[in-house]
């Protein structure tokens, strides 16, 4: 068992006799941001489609690297009410069998009566999907649309896998690591919908955010998380999350690698906590740009935005890893004046500042614990914090 007080000479409150501190203080050092790193991103062609690029090809962020097909959805027609029939007789009056292609204006269903014919024509092009014998509603699937898949990054194609429909692109990006998360690797345009310490409610989640990666401030409510799944949002970045909502999205023996349809990265901790200045500033720079999120490894990838990085990439070779990258190891490091630190316990949890003083004598806290305090200078104030409640960054 590691004794985190072991690096102090005097620890027992009764035995600390207010003599000056003789030994150094340590805190954990966590890398939250790794700039300009050469790494691989994957672009997946979902479903049927085609890949247009080859290994070794240089791509720009707007280059089309493949295509896929998507179905925009369904239209529903009440055959029973339009023709005045029993629901169970739904298919009897259709002019074409289920599974057939139909065109806008084409005759869909007919019923002859003593007063004449009752007709239904197709309101749009589509495919006859199903006629429900319980409700008498006919589902018309809209025609599939071709969707081009863009690279999203400046880089060099390192691998094309026709079996898994994946294109692996080597690029240079800034990696951001949170402290918790869930969900598979996804991509999308970054959109900030709340301030650094804002709270995001369900009413703020709408169809405009579909397939985007959204920044939700200090906390996203559970109801908003559930709505995000139905709105098909790709990813969520939040300073904090309620632990009950987080546990609902992770499972398994190690509480890892579950996916509920979108990815989440939490940057600070549990409960409402503002996103740290360091990460929020970076997110503001990348707003409206294409980024990647990998919730299960608490990771964001913010790719370089110019073709200059391709020049550097030509000289770089990195192995393709088939497992997702893990967060950097956390080590402990000496607490020094002028180092930057983040407060990891309330009050002021998530606040980042510069260390400007380290007390020579211990202070007795209200909790009864005797410890050394460190003074942190932020943009707004100076805060004294027990050294154990800091992480160096």
């Amino acid at each position: 068992m590691l004794n985190f007080f072991s690096r102090l000479e005097e620890t027992n409150p009764k035995r600390i006799d207010q003599t000056k501190r003789k030994m150094a203080l340590y805190a954990n050092l966590r890398s939250r941001i790794i700039p300009s790193k050469a790494l691989h991103v994957k672009r997946t062609i979902v479903g049927k489609g085609a890949i247009y690029v080859t290994k070794g090809q240089e791509v720009a962020s707007h280059d089309v690297i493949g295509k896929t097909y998507i179905s925009p959805g369904f239209s529903s027609i009440s055959v029973t009410s339009r023709l005045g029939i029993n629901p169970i007789d739904c298919t009897k009056y259709l002019q074409k069998p289920i599974g057939s292609r139909i065109y806008k204006g084409e005759l869909l269903a007919v019923k002859k009566t003593i007063f004449g014919k009752k007709l239904i024509t197709a309101p749009t092009d589509g495919t006859l999907e199903q006629c429900d014998p319980r409700s008498g509603r006919l589902l018309l699937r809209f025609p599939q649309k071709e969707l081009p898949i863009v690279s999203g990054v400046f880089g060099i194609v390192d691998d094309v896998n026709e079996n898994t429909h994946e294109v692996t692109i080597k690029t240079i990006a800034t990696e951001v690591f949170g402290i918790a998360g869930s969900g598979n690797e996804r991509s999308g345009v970054l959109k900030i919908i709340a301030g650094q310490s804002g709270f995001t409610q369900a009413s703020q989640i709408n169809t405009d955010l579909r397939q985007k990666i959204i920044v939700t401030g200090g906390l996203i409510y559970g109801e908003a998380l559930r709505k995000a799944a139905t709105m098909r949002i790709s990813g969520i970045i939040s300073g904090g999350i309620n632990s009950a909502d987080h546990l609902a999205k992770v499972s398994g023996a190690n509480r890892e690698f579950k996916d509920v349809g979108f990815s989440v990265v939490v940057t600070e901790g549990f409960g409402p906590i503002p996103i740290g200045d360091d990460i929020f500033k970076l997110l503001q720079e990348y707003e409206n740009r294409f980024v990647f999120i990998h919730g299960n490894t608490n990771q964001l990838i913010l790719p370089c935005s110019t073709s200059d990085c391709i020049v550097a990439l030509r000289k770089i070779s990195i192995p393709i890893k088939h497992l997702p990258a893990l967060s950097p190891e956390i080590d402990s490091s000496l607490i020094n004046i002028s180092a930057y630190a983040r407060i990891i316990w309330p009050p002021f949890m998530g606040t980042i500042g510069k260390i400007i003083a380290i007390d020579e004598r211990p202070t007795l806290l209200d909790s009864g614990i005797m410890t050394y305090l460190v003074t942190l200078e932020t943009s707004k104030q100076k805060i004294k914090v027990p050294f154990a409640n800091l992480e160096l960054i």
């Binding site: 080590d331 614990i369 409640n389």
Partner: protein, 193 residues
């Protein structure tokens, strides 16, 4: 240098303890979701320390549940000994309150010695005496050096001890001798076996 950790790092099953188990130990009951967040942050950042008494109370509640899960971390039943590590003593002051919490969690029967490990030396700080109480009496007579003192049953109390050795006789327990210690005698008269 290796990563700093804390007391709760040694109890990996803590994240699965039902929240009601924690709440039962607290006099001031917090909001459930706030407590859940507090515990999640405590496990995420195990090296952190509480600033307030209220936070320390929550940590003591968590420690009780941790010791219920894994008493062997400090309790050696075949030697009737509890050894409190130095960092645990520093993390949960004062020592009297910590030993009360340990008693409530581990429930050692009979006479158990309490030690604290300080500067690589085990120092005895007290004794927990828990007799078998039959027929649910309201009071119990305890003989300290042949002088009878009546204690109310149903709770745990601390009785400071002078430096000189004293002989204690309680109910069905064999008489035992104790002296001094930072804590003294902890009488666990909650009843049961």
């Amino acid at each position: 240098m290796p990563k700093l950790s804390g007391i709760f790092t040694n109890f990996p099953g803590l994240d699965k303890v039902p929240i009601d188990n924690i709440i039962r130990w607290l006099k001031i009951k917090p909001e459930v979701h706030s407590l859940q967040d507090y515990i999640a942050n405590r496990l995420l950042y195990p090296q952190t320390i509480p600033l307030t008494q209220q936070d320390l109370e929550i940590d003591l509640a968590l420690l009780r549940e941790a010791l219920i899960l894994e008493p062997s971390h400090i309790f050696i039943p075949n030697k009737k000994k509890i050894v409190i590590p130095e960092d645990m003593e520093n993390r949960f002051p004062p020592l009297e309150k910590l030993t009360m919490a340990i008693t409530e969690a581990i429930n050692p029967a009979g006479v158990t010695s309490i030690y604290v490990y300080r500067d690589n030396i085990s120092v005895q700080v007290g004794v927990i005496a828990r007799p078998e109480i039959l027929n649910s009496p309201n009071e119990l007579d305890v003989f300290i050096d042949n002088k009878m003192i009546r204690f109310a049953t149903g709770g745990v109390s601390i009785f400071p001890l002078p430096p000189k050795p004293l002989t204690i006789k309680i109910a069905t327990l064999e008489p035992f001798t104790v002296s001094g210690g930072d804590v003294g005698l902890i009488l666990d008269l909650r009843g049961g076996k």
